[in-house]
Amino acid sequence: MMFLAIARKELREAVRDRRSLMSGLLYGLWGPLVMGLALIAMAGHQGDVGSVTVQAEGASQAPGLVAFLASRNVTVAEATGDLAAAVRDRRVPVGLIVRADYPGKFTTSRPAPVELLHDTTWTESARRSAHLRGVLTDYGKVVADTRLVLRGVAPTAVAPLRVLDRDFATPGDRAARMLATLPIFVLLAAFIGGLGVAADAAAGERERGSLESLLLHPVGRLSIVGGKWLTVSLVSVATVTLALLTSVAVMQHPRVKNIDLPIGLSPIDTGHVLLLLVPLAVFAAAVQLSIAFQARTYKEAQTKLSTLIFAPMLPGFLFAFGSIEPAHWMTFTPMMGQHVMLTALVRGEAPTVMNLGVLSAITLAAGAAAWLTAAHQLGRESVLRRANG
């Protein structure tokens, strides 16, 4: 059981070094917190705007408009100072200017000019201006209908089409769009968790010159890589577990609970995600070691492994941009399979035991192949060459 001695030593070093360990674990902690904040913000931003106060210039020239706005919960307040500058400087999200020629044109049935001041790059401004534009359009339609009736024309005659806009999206649905990124996020946790430890256990050993001493012991290469694999896997699984537990805690927050999310990360959901991700974390650890053993320095390994992080993101991007459609075979492909199943889980569809078992077995087998590759790397004489050698 030499690999256990190696695993103990690697774990001891990782705990004492802290930098490699913490960089991974912090992702598991901060990631869900950031996601929780985004969920709250998204659900809130895209919900009903409720009562709105809008600053305006020249509102006294359009009492009918002001009254209509008030009936739609839009309170008009006379602006103090330069309203355009206030919107431009983001002190005021939206402004309304009733131009001086408004009364004259309105009473003579010509288009009466009003200016809507807003900033499309500012979420709050865009949201309020869209609401205000809708109310203004409604007012214009009410006035137009009245004018047509007064002229003996039925308003329906000039409205051949009536579009009824029914948006069924609840704040929860909108937040669920954000939650759809959960698969990418937790897949990343499996790959980021052990990155630093893998780089140190493989390339760090080469850089320090301690690899030759290690290989001089009567220990097989499979055991050496096995011990390191066990340690990196433990750290990766710990990161994934931490990320999930933090996610569960975030979901329990009162402001997040108010959002009607389709998935609440119940104990069963959490168990499913863990069952999906533990084999993936073990697979990631083996792949990271096989790559890190090709690097001569810790930094070189970090650079190489950083590019590997994009691998679990790839299926998500390909699906999101419609480059490929999920197919049955993808369910049994490491990384793709986990992404497909996690996406289904977010939609509230639990994976079958059969699919979960087959995918886990294939993922672990792929991890074992990477383990053999890493052990093969150790057998090459070039592995004894150091950065300066």
């Binding site: 001695a5 030593k9 070094d17 320090r208 010159g209 290690l214 009567p218």
Partner: protein, 256 residues
């Protein structure tokens, strides 16, 4: 350390290298090298940079697989049974890589565990080795803070943890101060006196003259001379081993 007793096989050579050849691309690193490292004496391996010393040592330790020829350690074929052969060897490589966050004691214990020694034996063996190497006071210190001399002594302790009967030292006093170098040389002599087969690779001629009972000189991947230091000097008619070495290899290139 108690005197070591060997099985009498009627053959005193405990490390035996036979006709090894190793080529890297177009470079012939070692060509038909044969040497014996017998019990109870220190055998020096000399040669300029690129002479093939490190390749020969790595072939002995099984880290390099020769293209031809073979190596035996205590009669064990290194290529066929590398684990068994390594269990009979204690090696102090030139580069002393330590784990900065492990203590001195943990280093020795780690080596003991990798040698497959029992947990009950490890404690006592670690304590006695640390005392022997003058490292007891540093036992709880992390290796990242050790001086070069302390690291070299730690490497020696790790190489000896399983009481090997064959020891290989690659540039054992490289980077050491005078006092540390003396301590290491004294330990090497003591090991040979205890019956171990000791192979030392070194560039330092006075050290080789002082330390080695036999000297093997390599140049351009081949053995060009061998014998006691006195025999070597006598063969080429030089007063010092350094002069003899230069004469034997045919140039002053590569001498440090």
């Amino acid at each position: 350390m108690a005197a070591l007793h060997r099985v009498d096989r009627g053959d005193p050579a405990m490390i035996r290298v036979q006709h090894i050849r190793k080529q890297y691309g177009s470079t012939l690193a070692v060509n038909d090298v044969s040497l014996d490292v017998p019990d109870g004496m220190v055998t020096g391996l000399l040669g300029p940079n690129g002479a093939g010393k490190t390749t020969t040592i790595r072939a002995i330790t099984g880290l390099t697989r020769p293209d031809a020829g073979g190596v035996e350690v205590d009669g064990v074929n290194v290529a066929l049974h590398p684990m068994q052969a390594r269990a009979q060897l204690g090696v102090v490589p030139e580069t002393i890589g330590v784990y900065d966050h492990l203590t001195v004691r943990e280093h020795v214990e780690y080596s003991a565990q990798l040698q497959g020694l029992s947990a009950t034996y490890v404690d006592g063996r670690t304590a006695s080795l640390l005392a022997q190497m003058g490292l007891t006071a540093l036992a709880a210190r992390r290796a990242g803070g050790l001086s070069m001399g302390e690291r070299r002594r730690l490497a020696l302790a790790r190489a000896m943890v399983h009481q090997p009967r064959n020891l290989v030292f690659d540039e054992p006093t490289n980077g050491l101060d005078v006092m540390s170098a003396r301590e290491v040389r004294r330990e090497i002599r003591r090991l040979a006196a205890a019956g171990c087969a000791v192979l030392v690779s070194s560039h330092v001629m006075p050290e080789v003259a002082m330390l080695c009972d036999r000297v093997i000189v390599m140049a351009a991947g081949a053995i060009v001379a061998s014998g006691t230091p006195a025999e070597l000097m006598q063969q080429v008619g030089c007063a010092t081993l350094e002069d003899a070495f230069v004469r034997v290899i045919g140039s002053e290139e590569g001498l440090n």
